[in-house]
């Protein structure tokens, strides 16, 4: 047991917990018993808070734990996270502005609200809501895996059921203060989290390499380790450059991740909570500051390889946990108190996004399932209550998915979530520009993309050597692509991200069925939005509050 590390970690953890409880008083509104207040912080967040909030949920345990773990295990492939966060902002800038404007004009809180208004289809909106909730769970699970890695490195590495106890405890704390304060809790804690993370990263990326002999020798040593043949497969585990089969995978992982990010309800929450278009624009320029750090952190995977870090064996499962390599690296290279600080940064960096994700999923449940189907006449207070309860359920759902899906690399949990959430792209993102696609064609496209994508993921073995197990990763060779038994590319071993293929199938079905449905005269529904709504600058921001529900009146 590492007592100094554990003491520093616990002290910082307690500090943010107190902040979480105090957050409900921050910029207090008349009543927290309103979903707009609890779930969007009153739509009043300016540039700085938005930067911390959105940055806080984009750069998470994913950055600190999962990306370096992939670099450690596979080399260059793990670096796809850098192009992901670079192509992200140019891709989403314009659609997000339109989304913010139309949401402001109609009081939309979730992507499903928007789909309902745009397509007048309760079914499509419900599908978008359910997809968002399900896709969020493995992403939260990734945060849990990061936190777990830190706790195990500090010595809380029990076996059996007791091995999961510290994780459970941390999540009870998180659940309680999210329940109390809503979005204000993570927004406030994000400041502390980012401060800690910046200190840790700057020290790690500038001090560590000098201790190990500079990047040149770190890379060369890593290349030697990665090229060693694996005793089981006889193949190298990775390389410091991309090979002939994984370049397409690299590009599609980056592109797919970038396209999926703002389809997740939690990332959109951060955008919708901002106070204006100019705030969003400024953030799209400022957020890449995090990308730089992400790339530097990815290189820590090589630092760990070069000094021969061995991942800690998970006491509960008996398997080496590659998520522990950065914590172990810190433990070996830093003084105990600083390692404790770094662990707190990772731990809090996992909790903030987990809180935001569960709040966003809860918003979806409340607005688009509870109020839509179960209790249409719910009062704002009842809605807020439902959202709070749902956020608890989602968190515990994530705990379950960490047990059920256990891929080789934890980053695949996020990528599996990506395959799922990408299927809402035609209904949410394409719809921001055109309503040409028929609503039933969108439903059919969703069905095909989702079922094909999940089936492919199921087929990917957990153990590549024996071919046993399921949900082992997120990429497939093109040779495995088959349509009802027909394999168009039987000899192509090039790998590709399953999400990219599933999205293409989804779009293809939607495009082909649209003219058919139009000719058959199937109703297209009423569009409750007008072209001007997508460009509204939010004139009179803050002065006039659009209450949820008033859009029906306007549209009628």
């Amino acid at each position: 047991m590492q007592w100094t590390e554990f003491g520093v970690f616990t002290a910082l953890f307690l500090l943010v917990s107190v902040m979480g409880f105090a957050a409900s008083r921050w910029r207090r509104a008349a009543s927290m018993e309103h979903l707009d207040e609890w779930g969007l912080g009153g739509r009043r967040f300016g540039s700085w808070i938005t930067w911390f909030l959105v940055g806080g949920d984009l750069y998470t345990a994913y950055t600190f734990v999962a990306v370096p773990a992939l670099v450690f295990g596979a080399g260059a492939m793990g670096f796809f996270a850098l192009p992901y966060t670079v192509v992200l902002y140019p891709l989403v800038l314009l659609p997000l502005l339109r989304m913010w404007s139309v949401s402001k004009a109609h009081g939309y809180v979730t992507p499903a609200d928007y789909v309902r208004g745009r397509y007048d289809s309760s079914l499509l909106a419900t599908l978008v809501a359910v997809t968002g909730i399900v896709a969020t769970m493995p992403y939260i699970a990734l945060q849990l895996a990061g936190l777990e890695a830190v706790l195990r490195t500090m010595g809380l590495n029990g076996s059996g059921l007791a091995g999961h106890a510290p994780l459970f405890l941390a999540f009870v704390v998180l659940a309680l203060y999210t329940y109390h304060s809503g979005l204000r809790a993570p927004a406030l804690i994000a400041f502390v989290k980012d401060l800690l993370i910046y200190v840790v990263i700057l020290v790690a990326v500038f001090y560590l390499p000098t201790q190990i002999g500079g990047w040149g020798s770190i890379i060369d040593d890593s290349a030697a380790v990665l090229s060693r043949p694996d005793p089981d497969t006889g193949q190298a585990s990775g390389s410091i450059l991309l090979g002939e089969h994984n370049q397409l995978q690299y590009a599609t992982l980056a592109l797919g991740s970038a396209l999926s990010l703002f389809l997740y309800p939690h990332s959109l929450t951060g955008i919708l909570a901002s106070s204006g278009r100019r705030v969003i624009r400024r953030n799209m320029v400022a957020l890449p500051a995090y990308s730089f750090l992400l790339g530097m952190l990815a290189l820590l995977g090589y630092a760990a390889l070069a000094i021969g870090v061995e991942p800690i064996v998970n006491g509960a499962t008996g398997e080496p946990d590659s998520n522990t390599i950065v914590p172990v690296l810190f433990d070996r290279m830093f003084a105990d108190w600083f390692a404790g600080l770094a662990y707190a940064a990772i731990g809090i960096g996992a909790l903030v996004p987990a809180a935001i994700m569960s709040i966003a999923a809860a918003n979806l449940w409340t607005r688009n399932i509870y109020k839509e189907h179960l209790r249409p006449g719910a009062t704002p207070a009842q809605e807020a209550k439902q959202a709070k309860l749902a956020s608890l359920v989602v968190k515990f759902g994530a705990v379950l998915s960490i047990v059920l899906i256990d891929p080789q690399f934890s980053i695949d949990m996020q990528l599996i979530g990506g395959v799922i959430v990408l299927q809402t792209l035609p209904a949410v993102a394409v719809a921001l520009y055109t309503r040409w696609l028929h609503r039933w064609a969108l439903v059919a496209g969703w069905g095909v993309g989702m079922s094909w994508g999940l089936w492919q993921l199921y087929l990917i073995p957990k153990d590549p050597v024996t071919g046993q197990g399921h949900f082992g990763g997120s990429a497939m060779p093109l040779s495995d692509f088959s349509l009802f038994g027909w394999q168009p590319l039987p000899d192509v071993r090039t790998q590709i991200y399953v999400g990219a293929v599933a999205l293409l199938l989804n779009l293809l079905v939607a495009v082909v069925l649209t003219p058919v449905l139009r000719r058959s005269g199937a109703s297209r529904g009423t569009d409750h939005t007008s072209p001007d709504d997508y460009l509204a600058t939010g004139a009179g921001e803050g002065r006039e509050r659009v209450e949820p529900g008033t859009d029906e009146v306007r549209a009628g």
């Binding site: 850098l82 670079v86 800038l93 990047w215 890379i219 450059l241 730089f292 600058t537």
Partner: protein, 85 residues
């Protein structure tokens, strides 16, 4: 065309199309892996694969920044002309 729109709605047409937006395509070059999937030349010990991709971060910021600046100007112009409701 613009005048027609103004006459019909009684306010300045407001849209998000602009030639500046084409700049957003430039950072997507980062997805073309053969451009930088090389070991040499190295900078500070890092193979080209790594430093070249790091260089795309400021490139992306500049491209998005220029688009944003143009859009902010346009929006301010619209508001002055009475684009606000």
């Amino acid at each position: 065309m613009v005048d027609q729109e103004r006459a019909a709605t009684g306010r300045t047409p407001n849209h998000d199309r602009s030639p500046w937006n084409l700049l957003l395509l430039v950072p997507l070059l980062m997805l073309v892996t053969p451009l930088w999937n090389h070991d040499e030349p190295r900078v500070l010990g890092l193979p080209m694969f790594y430093w070249a991709q790091f260089l795309f971060v400021p490139l992306g910021v500049v491209c998005v920044g220029l688009v944003v600046r143009a859009a902010n100007r346009r929006e301010r112009g619209t508001e002055r002309d009475g684009g606000e409701r």
